[in-house]
């Protein structure tokens, strides 16, 4: 058997496949269907300091080979998370990464510090790229200077690995990646969803309650692969690649473009067994090609 461990700077994962934020609940939903030990990590849905009700429905609509969503960071808030969800997550035995979102720098700092001291979390993922909330989030993720400052502050408030999740909704994602690196990020994850809209021609109104939403799924994969490749060329910290990964060939594209690990999001909805199938096919692939680990493949397509 090949070694499937992924080494992302200070973070070591047992497999290179992560369940992307907001797509895997707290693990319980999927534990009836599969063994969770194939997950490199589970990224918990965007957590905010105060509870957030989320957006008015409809929150999702299907598009050609894609999904447009505007959930709006519905979550129970930090206190309920610490009291109720985190203990349940620990029971599942899955390495947990918490995705955090704030409206202000201070909110991010408080979230990071509290989660860090709660323990049992292997890394934090800074959400600076949610396209579906009014304040904060994406605002930090689209201006290099504010992003660098934010990452710096969070970096100072916690000592566990820090991942910054980048938005594709920018002119030059490399600038933001460099800003996150300068601020002290250990790892970058990309991409979040791409802003989009679907209009119902009968009602002559946007379908989603929030009007616009974020596009995920195979439809946006080429955009994501290109961005991973660009960031890999210009930044020296590890990358978690994601965007429409459904099977082995998709994951390989991200790895060859420079991702040291990959995340599956929308794929979990289509086939709940996407991650276990992907992990076992990555294993067979490495075996077949005679690689002892993923490392020689990471960025191999980037010249």
């Amino acid at each position: 058997m090949a070694n499937l461990k992924a080494h992302l700077g200070p973070l070591e994962l047992r497999t290179p496949v992560i369940a992307a934020s907001g797509t895997f609940g707290f693990g319980e939903e999927y534990s009836d269907i599969m063994e969770l030990d194939c997950l490199g990590a589970l990224v918990v849905k965007g957590l905010t300091l105060k509870p957030r009700p989320g957006n008015s429905p409809p929150r999702i609509v299907e598009t050609p080979a894609g999904l447009l969503n505007a959930i709006g960071l519905e979550n129970p808030g930090l206190d309920v998370f610490l009291a109720r969800e985190l203990p349940r997550l620990r029971e599942q035995g899955v390495p947990v990464i918490v995705n955090i979102a704030g409206e202000t720098e201070d909110e991010y700092v408080v979230l990071a510090a509290e989660l860090c001291s709660a323990g049992g979390i292997i890394a934090l993922e800074l959400n600076v790229s949610c396209p579906n909330v009014e304040k904060g989030g994406l605002l930090f993720g689209t201006a290099p200077y504010s992003l660098q400052k934010l990452v710096q502050k969070v970096r100072e408030s916690c000592d566990i690995p820090l991942i910054v999740k980048l938005s594709p909704n920018v002119t030059d994602i490399v600038e933001l990646a460099q800003a996150a690196q300068q601020g002290g990020a250990d790892i970058l994850s990309l991409i979040n969803t791409i802003r989009g809209m679907v209009i119902d021609v009968h009602t002559m109104r946007p379908v989603l309650g929030n009007e616009s939403g974020g596009l995920s799924g195979p439809a946006m994969r080429p955009v994501a692969v290109r961005m991973v490749c660009e960031v890999f060329r210009h930044v020296h910290i590890p990358i978690i690649g994601m965007g429409g990964i459904m099977q082995l060939e998709d994951a390989l594209q991200f790895i060859l473009a420079g991702a040291g690990a990959v995340a599956v999001g929308t794929g979990n909805f289509v086939d709940p067994l996407t991650i276990p199938k992907l992990v076992s096919s990555l294993d067979s692939y490495l075996e077949e090609k005679g690689y002892r680990s993923l490392e020689p493949l990471v960025g191999a397509a980037v010249v």
């Binding site: 797509t23 939903e29 009700p53 969503n69 959930i71 979990n268 909805f269 289509v270």
Partner: protein
């Protein structure tokens, strides 16, 4: 929860409506009225997402579950083209179904259009429990109705309504029900499934006349198992959820009408 069911039979039973019988022992044993199956309609990625369908009935004798669906888009078109013996990737049975706690009779079931699917399952199970059941079933026109032989269970009283008057009561199914109330029908529990506007009318009526109503709701759905929070429905806070939204796929699809924010 994940099942590989076999198409036992698929038949076109009216202009747009199909009856699909899926053979899978666990689904047939576990499914209860109001629950649904989340079916993958394509092995490629367009259409991408699974489609949720209420279970319309089970047959314990041959381990089958029934699904009734109307061909309205690409997903249901692909489903309609399945042939006997084909494998179908199903998640299920999912969600919280109807809760029949009241022994008061009669039970009244009110169905609009394809909303008849989960109520047919409920009707059959109530009739088996020797409960007196009235089922109101409405559609725009007789030609768009599910064939009435599917409602021909012994002991089930069926009242049909069509908006164009082509059969039965001339008007909306909610009007047919209210008409019966005025003629003296005294419902125990009431169960309804149909368009949101129809359910809203009933929710208001149940509040005024003080009868207990459960509704089965529909919302666009991604995961089907409670993880993505895509199928949110606004509910009153008393439900003790940290946020004022419940998930149609998990807490629902059946809700107490008083809990829903209409």
């Amino acid at each position: 929860m994940l099942a590989r069911a076999v198409v036992k039979e698929i038949s076109k039973i009216s202009r747009r409506i199909y009856l699909l019988e899926l053979e899978e022992e666990r689904l047939a044993k576990e499914a209860s009225p109001g629950q649904f199956l989340h079916i993958r309609v394509s092995s490629v990625y367009a259409p991408l997402l699974r489609r949720p369908f209420s279970v319309a009935g089970v047959n314990d004798n041959n381990n089958t579950v029934q699904v009734l669906f109307a061909e309205i888009g690409e997903g249901t078109r692909l489903l309609s083209q399945l042939s006997r013996g084909a494998y179908v990737d199903c998640l299920g049975p999912l969600g919280s179904g109807f809760k029949c706690f009241s022994e008061e009779t009669p039970a009244v079931l009110i169905a609009g259009g394809m909303g008849a699917a989960p109520l047919l399952f409920l009707a059959n199970s109530l009739v088996q429990q020797k409960r007196e059941v009235f089922m109101f079933y409405g559609a725009p026109s007789f030609s768009e109705m599910i064939p009435l032989q599917l409602f021909s269970t012994e002991g089930l009283n069926v009242i049909i309504a069509t908006e164009d008057g082509s059969s039965g009561f001339h008007g909306l199914v909610t009007e047919a029900f209210q008409d019966s109330l005025q003629r003296g029908l005294k419902p125990g529990q009431v169960f309804a499934c149909g368009a949101r506007a129809m359910l809203k009318v009933l929710a208001e009526d149940s509040r005024q006349r003080n009868y207990h109503l459960q509704v089965s709701l529909e919302e666009s759905m991604a995961c089907g198992i409670g993880a993505c929070r895509g199928c949110a429905v606004k509910v009153k806070k008393e439900q003790e959820l940290p946020v004022p939204f419940a998930r149609v796929c998990k807490e629902g699809p059946v809700f107490d009408a008083r809990e829903v924010v209409w």
